[in-house]
């Protein structure tokens, strides 16, 4: 019989168990497929509208972009904005096609760790080109591609027997944990941010979003109290999601809270890519197993 380690050793053992315990790649494969699909859609959009926005005569042309990253101004960090679209705006379509191809490889499980790295480089070229035009989902997407470069959760095809096999790996667990922690931190700061801004807390922001048809939800403009109710609901949902993340017994509830939160984003803000990104991150916490496993290797 072994004795339970106490104090510092106990914490180290838990840390070790949390981050470095081998895990099945199936949940990560689900995340990889979903991220690959979303990235494909995003790069297709950049292919269609990239030049219109970031081209030589784009709506947000290179000179304007350089102005807003604070080029030449100390402390703005403009030196680290490494997008080549400032110098070569005509490359927008090429970068979008490259990003789409690598995202497709990610979706199909091809290209191992190179695919997310190339997709990330392509995506960052657009993000660094106009950081002030980035939406919340852009940060989540970029981080997801970096995490997937550690492990893509790639499943091996085996025809004898005809199954998908995936051996538990430490790198898989590490990647899933990174997704989980990032998701938790994001929700926590989203909640803190909403609570700290008066126009959010008093419902004015939500009401304006509803009134101006930002989301998929239209209401008469005199229903101001609904904005307050909506905001309080979103705040409560985020708190509930955090609670359920930390309580394994409430995991089933957390998943439904997350669905409700994502629905609120769609109805209120209409930012479907943000909703999709959050949903994909939540798969690390509450996995959905849509890949059928008929055996193991």
């Amino acid at each position: 019989m072994t004795t339970e380690p106490i104090g510092f050793r106990s914490s180290v053992a838990r840390w070790d168990q949390f981050w470095f315990c081998p895990t099945s790649p199936f949940p990560l494969a689900t995340i990889r497929i979903a991220i690959g699909l979303l990235a494909c859609v995003q790069f297709l959009q950049y292919l269609v509208a990239g030049s219109e926005w970031f081209g030589r005569d784009g709506l947000f042309n290179p000179e304007t972009g350089l102005h807003f990253i604070g080029e030449g101004v100390e402390g703005t960090g403009s030196f680290f904005r490494w997008s080549i679209l400032y110098s070569y705006p005509w490359l927008a379509s090429t970068i979008a096609i490259t990003g789409f191809a690598s995202s497709l490889c990610l979706l199909l499980g091809l290209g191992a760790r190179i695919a997310p790295v190339i997709a990330w480089i392509a995506l960052c070229n657009f993000h660094h080109r106009a950081p002030l035009l980035m939406s919340p989902h852009d940060f989540l997407m970029a981080a997801a591609l970096i995490y997937l470069a550690i492990d893509t959760g790639r499943l091996q095809w085996s025809f004898r027997p005809a199954v998908l096999s995936g051996d538990p790996k430490t790198s898989t667990n590490l990647t899933i944990r990174l997704f989980q922690c990032h998701f938790g931190i994001w929700i926590a700061f989203s909640l803190a941010s909403m609570l700290s801004i008066p126009v959010w807390w008093n419902g004015q922001a939500a009401w304006v979003l509803i009134r101006d048809h930002h989301g998929w939800f239209t209401l008469p403009s005199d229903w101001q109290s609904l904005g307050q109710g909506y905001t309080h609901l979103v705040v409560a949902l985020q708190a509930a999601i955090l609670f359920c993340m930390l309580q394994p017994t409430c995991h089933w509830l957390g998943r439904w809270m997350l669905y409700a939160f994502v629905l609120c984003i769609l109805l209120l803000a209409g930012d479907w890519m943000y909703a999709a990104s959050l949903f994909i991150y939540s798969l690390a916490v509450w996995p959905i197993r849509f890949i059928t496993v008929r055996g193991t290797s």
Partner: protein
């Protein structure tokens, strides 16, 4: 995995998430210490695209959400304004990158107006004007060449509970080399804020 690798990875994880927490928590307001830490971490946070710049983390990022913000163009002799970009996009448009970026750009303009950064507003308007000039843009009854561009913002609440729109208007100057420049209307050093003329509603 060896214990040395685990130690290195553990340190990297702690540094990574600590950096994220500093960046996210400094999104709205930041202390001088946070500012110094962020400047130190810029190569990592900005280089790897973890730095959310000035965008708050909440659902839609602005203390004052944009309402009916739009960029319009017009030509002399015509009272009508044609909308180029607007926050009020259709449900289908809101699914596209163009719809998302349009809202983001107008949100940025709203924030610039709040900070009275007329130079920043005019830079964006100039960029939009150059775009409109470079394509075969036809909206409403305005034909090229347009010579006026304006930004309409929701403005300040009035006594009767409505909102008085604020306009930032500029004249479009075309140079011989084909370049475009903007001249702020009335006052060259300040944006123009005037009351909405009913006949000039787009």
């Amino acid at each position: 995995m060896s214990s040395h690798w685990k130690l290195l990875i553990s340190i990297a994880i702690l540094v990574h998430f600590s950096s994220l927490c500093v960046a996210y928590s400094a999104n709205q307001m930041r202390s001088p210490l946070q500012d110094r830490v962020l400047v130190f971490l810029q190569p990592y946070l900005i280089g790897f695209n973890f730095y959310p710049e000035t965008l708050p983390v909440e659902l839609i990022a602005d203390e004052n959400p944009p309402s009916s913000t739009r960029i319009s163009i017009s030509s002399s002799g015509q009272g009508e304004w044609s909308t180029v970009l607007s926050t009020q996009v259709s449900a289908l448009e809101s699914l596209s990158l163009h719809g998302l970026k349009s809202r983001r750009l107008l949100q940025l303009l709203s924030a610039l107006s709040k900070n009275e950064d007329e130079d920043g507003i005019l830079r964006i308007l100039e960029s939009v004007a150059m775009r409109v000039d470079s394509i075969d843009f036809k909206l409403g009854t305005v034909d090229k060449p347009f010579d006026k561009i304006r930004l309409e913002l929701p403005g300040v609440p009035t006594d009767d509970g409505g909102l008085e729109p604020v306009f930032v208007e500029a004249l479009v100057a075309r140079f011989e080399d084909g370049e475009i420049g903007l001249v702020p209307k009335v006052e060259p050093h300040r944006s123009v804020r005037s009351k909405l003329n009913e006949s000039a509603k787009p």
